[in-house]
């Protein structure tokens, strides 16, 4: 009788490997901001339609993550942070990632169009296209402003959530998107200063490596100053109110002060204390965005009790 030797069989991916292609951590931020965008919209949505809409946004975000991993497999192999991803580690074949990315993109956009409306589906398709093609294939390897412009794809989910409910774009959804868009540069570059990356080895032009940390500190301060009016403007729209304004004032002052400290420092001081100010600014940035959206959520949740917006004052 013949022995069956399966030791030479190539690795076959499990469900967990495919799930890792979808970048679950990025997906969680996308789901949270899209959910707030949907919840604060003035048009009520059936809970099941809302669930399917948010699921489509999550799947679409995952699909763009899979397409990004397919395209960036060559540089992911080089960088320590990404070397353990499913494709560079050999657990998933590049062709599988491409197929999953394309299939889930089509599935999520079509289902969102059927479940909600064409505007929401178009915005999701645009988000996937922007992340996979404009950011991953074009900007990432060609300009140090890659994360600024590419950040638009991470900023659009609240606009999609709003569109799911209302079928339209309004000043509120534009401002929520602008908030994430303007927040991304100081958040990301604060991290880029204190994390030793090997983007240079992979040929990715990050601002810290092409222009140095001094210029990056200037950019952090510049984008932070531009972020403040966007954040405060939301307070005076239909989704804002005193709770949001209080949160925005406190956290803008805090984040501005953290970025100012980063801006004022030179490299010797920063290295002497292990980049303490940069680490602090990064942590503040995380809380800053999260609490802005929690405040918007609170304004909408308290409205039925008579405490939402400015009308109860």
């Amino acid at each position: 009788m013949t022995d069956v030797n399966m030791q030479d069989t190539t690795y076959e991916a499990g469900m967990g490997d495919y799930f890792a292609l979808l970048k679950p951590r990025v997906m969680s931020l996308v789901v949270f901001t899209a959910l707030v965008g949907l919840f604060v919209a003035p048009v009520p949505v059936h809970p099941f339609i809302a669930f399917v809409g948010i699921l489509c946004v999550a799947v679409g975000a995952g699909a763009s993550g899979a397409l990004n991993m397919w395209w960036d497999a060559d540089i992911d192999r080089i960088m320590r942070r990404t070397a353990k991803r499913p494709i560079p580690s050999g657990r998933v074949q590049p062709e599988e990632a491409l197929a999953i990315g394309l299939a889930l993109s089509g599935f999520s956009v079509v289902l969102l169009a059927l479940a909600t409306n064409f505007l929401a589906a178009f915005l999701l398709a645009f988000t996937i296209f922007f992340y996979a093609v404009v950011y991953s294939m074009w900007l990432k390897r060609s300009t140090p402003q890659n994360i600024v412009i590419g950040g638009l794809s991470g900023a659009l989910p609240p606009m999609i959530g709003w569109a799911i409910a209302t079928g339209s774009i309004s000043v509120e959804s534009v401002l929520m998107t602008a908030l994430i868009f303007m927040w991304t540069p100081p958040h990301f570059w604060a991290l880029a200063i204190f994390v030793k990356s090997d983007y240079g080895n992979a040929g990715v032009p990050m601002l810290t490596e092409t222009h140095g940390r001094r210029v990056t500190r200037n950019h952090i301060m510049g984008y932070m100053v531009a972020l403040v009016p966007v954040s405060l403007a939301i307070a005076f729209t239909s989704i804002g109110g005193p709770i949001y304004l209080a949160v925005a004032l406190i956290w803008n002052a805090w984040f501005l002060s953290a970025c100012y400290k980063v801006w004022r420092r030179d490299e010797e001081t920063a290295e002497a204390d292990g980049f303490a100010a940069e680490r602090a600014a990064f942590k503040v940035s995380l809380a800053y965005l999260f609490l802005h959206f929690v405040a918007l959520f609170a304004e909408a949740a308290l409205a039925p009790l008579g405490f939402g917006g400015w009308s109860w004052l």
Partner: protein, 74 residues
């Protein structure tokens, strides 16, 4: 020598097959749920019932009334 059929590969494939099964069940549940919600949101059944092939007593009564009205006028 006996044929050894159990292998780590089989366990992984089993995991994947059950994963696909679960996704298919979720997909069916979503389509079913969406159908129920969308149909209920239509509200008045008379707005869409003429497009199906089910017997509709309400329509039949209406038709009879229409016929009797025509008979009376003659």
């Amino acid at each position: 020598m006996a044929l050894k059929v159990e292998h780590e590969l089989h366990a992984r494939r089993k995991n994947r097959n059950f994963g696909v099964l679960g996704l298919l069940i979720v997909f069916v549940a979503i389509v079913f749920g969406l159908t129920v919600v969308k149909v209920l949101q239509l509200g008045d059944a008379k707005k869409f019932e003429r497009f199906d092939h089910v017997a509709r007593p309400a329509l039949a009564v209406g038709a009879q009334e229409g016929q009797s009205a025509e008979g009376a006028s003659q």
